[in-house]
Symmetry: C2
Subunit: 494 residues, 2 copies
């Protein structure tokens, strides 16, 4: 591990390699034998589980129920919504056969040509079509509305260039799919859920995000409006971290889902969908970590406190571990997760490096002198500050400290993000800031797709969002000089 | 709903139709547009979530960690373990292409023939192969062992005849995959996990199961030994409800997974795998329900107590609901889930029938006279006993009652199961009991696959298991008359 840690690429030398090294060496995930599909390792999955549990509780608090819909979608369903098929059908896994057989020529197993499906099945890239085909049978009257369902599932999008967590062929996510009687109620739902995501990012991931509307060009395929949370990574690039879509009546019309109103009229149902995925793991890692490894917000850390004994004899080890056990019991009673690392085949320095790599928020070490003095050494991962303190009142101190660390990580990310939003009013300045500083650029845009595309082609920067809290301001488009009524946020992104 | 309930097929008229009606009308699941794939509806999924959470906690208590492995498995992986490919490769979904395109002739979207995969991918029917291919990189030394991983995932087996929950093309499950340094440790793990399943079935599902070894003919494809939990349904048929496999070194050899022992020798790793699936939902429904609907053990019931107001005026409704709110607060403080049904568009009798159909363990009703007298009407779902009791001490009484119901449902299933194990010593009696009584038949068997197959062909009965607690007893095989040293359990099964 000490060697592995030394091998960790420095983030300022090669950010992309630093990220990949970190994911692999900290035991979060790795590439599998299947191109573009990852294995999420136990330590990484434990973080995802904590995200899952926190989000799931927030969904339930806001009145949603979980359900489960099929992995496969008949090919013809994709043709029903014109924009949707353009956006998703191009890159997907297609099931064409349902049987293998022994090769008559003895070359192992081969696809049985007799077992061809009448209609090909698509492995879901997202589930609007199969779900709205199902909702058709669930909805007759206004009394059946709203439907507020969420699904935790795996989805597949055949990405050509993949990166662990950020962009993989298969990923895990949740997708909410709601059905409403009115346009207003659906819009309210889409807004409510993007705010749930914002709150989750802030409170659990210590991650400040900008909430805003996507420009029409960046909307979800089939949506009338897409809301997004946009985070900033430490290399100055933006990461779209979650989206919530107002789908209008597009899917209701595509799958003929109508309801009878209180007044007895037939009307099409209004829809939203919203999702976050294992991509959040990438956001978490890239937003906070450093050249020593992961920095995890305590609320998402699988191990919150690790204890390392420093001993010269078996007797001393036993005495220290007895003391550790007592402290651990106190911490666990407060709901704090603790690991005591009494391995005898690696040295304390190796363990220190390993837990820094794994981002454990608080490390405690105790040696012979500490035993005599009633003290203990405490190192917090976010600042790497080391202090020797009294064992008395330790549990309360750590409980308080974990909250402080959670807050400090957030504040650091917020200060960085705020320092990386630059107001720009000329095209020259736009290009210069993008190349030399990065981050979000707040600039005027004439509101056309043509300009957005031209800016992307010239600079690789895209409109990340039109922030919800943006103020009206007259100005002229940095690219065309045409009039604009508000600034939008541009950035290069993942 | 009253009409729907009336439409519920009686279990003694058509057990199979009764089961299907129940699953659909109680809102647990339904068939989807994709052949053999089901939609798990919110009420059904809420039960599965409770099963998931209870099992997951038991796995973690026994030292296991969750991880996630790819949905897809390269076709060639299946050829590596000879028995495994025979068992699984025949019925599976095969991905051959990774792109669709617009039909040049304008007929919607078609598979792009240019986007053919070099090697086909199989949608996992089970994950031994992809996991052992991964473990190869995780295991070098005895210090890397044991590996105790579990995965919650969807799997696909292309079943020709499907039934909701019991046998579907796609289903949800967990699959544990562990790696050990010694044969003894792996065997111990496989046994430990089948006992976890037995305990889960007993404590959470109120379901008594027989634990035993599968006969060689019924083993998992690739296993050296398969342990099973076998439950008995109310129609006298058995349902295999969970299995735990000792895989020997078969997968380690197929994927060349060796480790260096303490003594410096290279050895192949020993393996287990174990799983339960949404099939447990079928077991739960079929084991306890009746002609009025579901009977749910309180520990798995999404709603444990429902309250129905019986009122003549809006004022009275408000007064009753105020009283309900106070009782509900007391119940919720004890961790009991409560629903107050104040819908004004359906009558109390309709609501009563609906919650009986949905298997809510305790129903409370309150009317004007109850308000005056300080009483409340209580009906327990398992026995349908009705009593009018004082509102005083109600919370404590219900807390106690939920435990009693959980136990009563178990005892009823256990008494039935015990009454349905019949010792049989002749072939005539075997056939007679099978046709006239059903259930488990405890009989002698000569231990050969030929006899097992012949009995199955003659009667459709199979050896469900050789119970762990069976006593040695000399006898002669009911079919061949050859010597036998113990009885095994036969039954017709799902």
């Amino acid at each position: 591990m000490a060697k592995e840690l030394k091998d960790l690429t420095k983030s300022d030398e090669n950010y992309s390699q630093w990220y990949n090294d970190l994911v692999v060496k900290a035991g979060l995930a790795e590439n599998s034998a299947v191109r573009g599909c990852m294995v999420i390792k136990p330590y990484g999955y434990a973080i995802w589980e904590k995200m899952h549990d926190a989000l799931d509780a927030m969904f339930k608090e806001t009145g949603h129920q979980n359900a489960y819909f099929p992995l496969f979608i008949p090919k013809s369903f994709f043709s029903r919504e014109a924009n949707h098929v353009e956006g998703f059908a191009k890159e997907c896994a297609v099931v064409t056969h349902y049987r293998l057989k022994n090769d008559p020529e003895g070359k192992g197993v081969v696809v049985d040509p007799e077992a061809r499906l009448e209609e090909e099945l698509i492995v879901r890239p997202t589930s609007e079509t199969i779900i709205w085909n199902t909702y058709k049978n669930w909805i007759q009257s206004y009394r059946d509305l709203p439907i507020l369902c969420n699904q935790w599932a795996n989805v597949v999008r055949w990405e050509m260039r993949t990166r662990l967590f950020l962009r993989t062929a298969e990923f895990l996510w949740q997708e909410g799919h709601t059905a409403h009687a009115t346009r207003e109620e659906a819009i309210e739902e889409a807004e409510k859920m993007v705010h749930v995501y914002e709150r989750f990012a802030r409170e659990w991931m210590s991650l400040p995000v900008v909430v805003g509307h996507k420009s029409p060009n960046e909307r979800f395929a089939g949506a009338e409006d897409t809301l997004t949370i946009e985070a900033l990574m430490q290399d100055g690039k933006a990461l779209q971290s979650g989206t919530s879509h107002f789908l209008g009546q597009n899917f209701a019309k595509a799958f003929d889902v109508q309801y009878v109103t209180k007044e007895g009229k037939q009307e099409y149902v209004w829809a939203t969908s919203w999702g976050v995925s294992t991509r959040l793991m990438g956001a978490l890692i890239m937003a906070h970590s450093d050249n020593n490894g992961l920095v995890l917000p305590p609320k998402l850390a699988p191990i919150q406190v690790v204890m390392v004994p420093i001993y010269k004899s078996a007797d001393q080890l036993a005495a220290i571990c007895e003391r550790f056990d007592a402290i651990a019991a106190g911490l666990r009673a407060k709901g704090i997760s603790v690991k005591i690392d009494d391995r005898d085949n690696v040295r304390p320095g190796f363990k220190f490096a390993e837990y820094e790599l794994k981002g454990v928020p608080v490390r405690l070490a105790m040696g012979g002198r500490d035993m005599e003095n009633g003290t203990i050494e405490l190192v917090r991962r976010d600042t790497l500050e080391k202090q020797t303190i009294s064992q008395e009142g330790l549990v309360e101190l750590i409980e308080q400290l974990l909250g402080d660390i959670q807050q400090n990580i957030y504040q650091k990310a917020l200060d960085y993000r705020n320092s990386m939003i630059t107001k720009v009013d000329t095209w020259e300045e736009f290009k210069q800031v993008l190349d030399e500083k990065g981050g979000f650029i707040s600039a005027h845009w004439d509101g056309t797709v043509e300009t957005e595309v031209a800016i992307k082609e010239a600079t690789k920067a895209t409109i990340r969002c039109i922030p919800l809290d943006v103020e009206d301001e007259e100005g002229s488009c940095i690219f065309t000089g045409k009039p604009s009524h508000r600034r939008v946020l541009f950035a290069r992104s993942y």
